[in-house]
Amino acid sequence: MSDAAVEGKAAKVPGVRFYVIRNVLKDKASGGALAPGEKGGIPIEAIQAAEAEFNKMSEDYPDWVQSLIDELSDNYRRCIDTPEIRHEKVAVIHDIAHDMKGQGGTFGYPLITNFGDSLYKCTHKSEEASDNLVELIKAHVDGMKAVISGRVSGDGGEIGQELLVSLEQAVQKYSTDDAA
């Protein structure tokens, strides 16, 4: 507390108030055994155990992402069948793409992140959903299906490069001002 506040002087509202917070989390984690300035770490065995759990879950990733690809396919079909609600479906696709772009790399499928990122970028204007954009969505969904059905993990080597090149060609072919 400032001297002014302690002495009860005319209250001038301070421009900045700092709150210095006692580090209760450090006390909790160390049992109060660490002196101020001392830092602790995470036991290596705990990191290894967490990595083992993480890797186990990663093995199930292709099955899980397949369900998202099915959702994308379903929404793509709705874009074709019901053009009056196309913009809504493109918005859904945009959200699914956001989810996918953040996950693929975590589980050893960076190509899913690449495709998800590209799909996310090209669907950001859902209100301007053109036929070209719908074709572009299809190209992305097809590419993702190929990645997962072929279990193309890592950079995918030659197959991965071919998939990325064909995606790039599709982006160039179907990109217009409203689809870019």
């Binding site: 507390m1 909790k28 770490g41 995470i42 953040g102």
Partner: protein, 182 residues
């Protein structure tokens, strides 16, 4: 360096992806965090924080030590949850460490989250090591909180380097500052 024991920690994980929710909670438990609660979106996060305050027995936690929240969620996203935690009068703890987990890695988005008072950012895709680093950052390097008419949150100046007077943009002097220990 001593090893920490996070057995007494209680963390809240907020993510609308069941897969990532499970991944995050499983990893935190494996690192040693004793109590992890997961919810589907920011709205459920707010409800849970209120429940912890009103009925900790029912919530299964006495308090929440750290929040790990995804950014983009429906209907209430991570930024709205962060705003509520930092600014709402019903927030049970406006100082709670908040780790924003996000696929948005661009500088503008990072700046936006910092301006709302995020403690740390965890970019997706992440690894166990990344997660552990954020946890350690929160525990080992806590920052004081700053309250101005435009900002409330952890001090955004992590590195306490001396700023030359001609470069310093703070238009205040020591008489304008009040320090409170909590």
């Amino acid at each position: 360096m001593s090893d920490y024991d996070f057995g007494l920690f209680s963390c809240l994980v907020v993510d609308d992806s069941s897969y990532l929710r499970t991944l995050m909670s499983t990893s935190l438990r494996a690192i040693g965090v004793g109590n992890v609660k997961t919810v589907d979106d920011g709205g459920e996060g707010i409800e849970f924080l209120q429940l912890v305050q009103s009925d900790p027995m029912k919530a299964g936690m006495q308090n929440v030590d750290i929040i790990f929240s995804n950014w983009q969620m429906h209907p209430v996203d991570g930024m709205m949850l962060l705003r509520w935690v930092r600014r709402h009068k019903e927030s049970p703890n406006r100082f709670i460490p908040f780790v924003m987990v996000t696929g948005y890695a661009d500088r503008e988005k990072v700046r936006e989250a910092r301006a709302m008072g995020a403690t740390e950012m965890l970019a997706k895709p992440f690894s166990v090591v990344n997660l552990g680093q954020r946890l350690l950052q929160v525990v080992n390097r806590p920052r004081k909180f700053v309250h101005t008419n435009k900002y409330f949150g952890p001090d955004r100046r992590r590195n306490q380097k001396e700023i030359p007077p001609d470069k310093c943009r703070r238009k205040i002097n020591e008489r304008d500052v009040e320090v409170t220990h909590v």
